[in-house]
Subunit: 227 residues, 2 copies
Amino acid sequence: MQGWEGVRAEVLRRIRARIWPPGALIPGEETLAGEFGVARATVNRALRDLAEAGVIERKKRAGTRVAELPVRRARLEIPVIRQDVEARGLVHGFELLADRLAPAPVPVTARLGLPEAAPMRFLETLHLAGGRPYVLESRWLNPAVLPHPAPDFARESANEWLVTHVSLVSGDIAFTAEPASPREAEVLGVPPGTALLVAERTTQGTAGPVTLVRLAHAPGHRVQMSF
Amino acid sequence: MQGWEGVRAEVLRRIRARIWPPGALIPGEETLAGEFGVARATVNRALRDLAEAGVIERKKRAGTRVAELPVRRARLEIPVIRQDVEARGLVHGFELLADRLAPAPVPVTARLGLPEAAPMRFLETLHLAGGRPYVLESRWLNPAVLPHPAPDFARESANEWLVTHVSLVSGDIAFTAEPASPREAEVLGVPPGTALLVAERTTQGTAGPVTLVRLAHAPGHRVQMSF
DNA sequence: ACAGGTTTTATGTCTAGACATATTAGCCAT
DNA sequence: ATGGCTAATATGTCTAGACATAAAACCTGT
C-alpha cells in the first residue's frame, strides 16, 4: 500500500483505531514520510485531503491534530432545473408567469447588498416536469448584469441563462419547509398550506450581486446529497 | 499574481471571458506552465482544484475541457446536534423517548442493505434548544456496531455517541418537507400538519450499515450552505 | 510580571525531473 | 468495414530539495 491514498488510508486507520485519539497531535510530515518511506510531499497530499474532509485540523507551526468532533461534510450538486427534471426521465417545460421591473423589497436588497428599493427585474417562472408543476421560481435579478438587448426569458429560462452567461462566484442556499401560500397553492395546483420544500439562493458575481431566487418545490420533492 | 491560486484565477478568468468557451479544449499543462512561467505541478494543482469545483473536466490523454453546464457544488457541514444548537447560542438538552429492540420495517432494512426484518435498536430522542423542542430524532441502529456493554443513550445522545465512537465511512442525506404526523405534532408541540423540514440520513461504516435516522425539525428551521 | 521583538518549527508551496496510467489515434490484418 | 494490437500523449503521481509563511516559544529590557 503506497502512494498518497495509501498514506491517507493508514493515517485514517490509526485515527479510527484510536492510536491517535481525538484531539491528539500526530507526528509531523517529515516523520511520517520517513516511517512510510515516501517523500514529504506525498504525506502532505494525504494529510491535506484528510483536512479537507474534516478528519484532522492543521496549523502551521502547531502541527496536525485529530479533530475532536469530526464534522461530516456532504456535497450538494445544484444542476440547472432542466437537467434536474430530465435526469428524472421527464420532459421539462416552463411558463414565464411574470416579468417586470419593480423596486425590490428591502429584505431582498439587504440580503444582496444593494441600495434600498433598487429597481430590479422580477421574474416568476413555473417549471413543469412531464407537464405537471415541478417548482415555482420567484427571482429578483440585478438588471446591471443583463446585456443589451436583454435575453428573452420566455424562450430560455432565467435559471439556465444565468448559469451559462453570468460568471457566478459565490453564494448560499437555505432550505426550509413552508406552508404553501395562496399564490403558490394556485400555481402548483395543491391545497393552500401544503408543506413545501423551499430553497432560497443568493448569488454574487464578479460584477456585484446577481440574483436572489426562491424555489418552491411541488410536494414530495427530495433534495439528495451524499458524503 | 503567481502561485497555483494565481494560475487558477487566470484560467478561471479566461473561461468566464469565453476565451475558452464551454466545451472547448484548453492547452495542456506543459503549455500553460510555459506560458505562466511556473512548474507543471503548479498548473496541475490549479487545474485539479478547478476540476473539483466542476468548472473543467479532465481526462488522461484526452486533455482538459471547459464544462458545458457548470454544475454548482455547495458544501453542507453536518454538525453534531448539540454543536448546532450551541452555535445558535442556546442551551442543548435532550430526552430519550423510546429505546427498544424491534424488527425493523422493510423500507429501513432495504435502504441499509440488511436482511429483512432484522432486529434493530430503535431510538427516539427529542432534542431541545433553550428548553424548547428543536428536532425529533427517530433512529434505527444496527446493534452489531454497539460494544458490550452498550452505551447509555439516556446520558449521551445516540447522535453524538455515534460520531465519536463509530467510524462512519459514507452515507447520504435527503431533505423533504412533510406535514407533521400526529406523533411529531405532539412531541414538537405544534399543530398536526404543520410543515416540517425532515432530513433522512443513512450511514455506512467500515463494518457494514450503521444507522438510518429521520430528523423532523421544528418549524422555522433553516439548513444553510454556501458555495 | 509583562509587552515587544526574535527565533524556531511545522506546514504550505514551488521546482525540475521522472515514471505510471489511461485513453485516444493510427495501423494492420482479416 | 471491423476487430485488435501498438504507439503516442495528456494527466496523475512521486521524489528530493528549496524557500515562504504563520504561529508558538523563547528571550529580552523595563
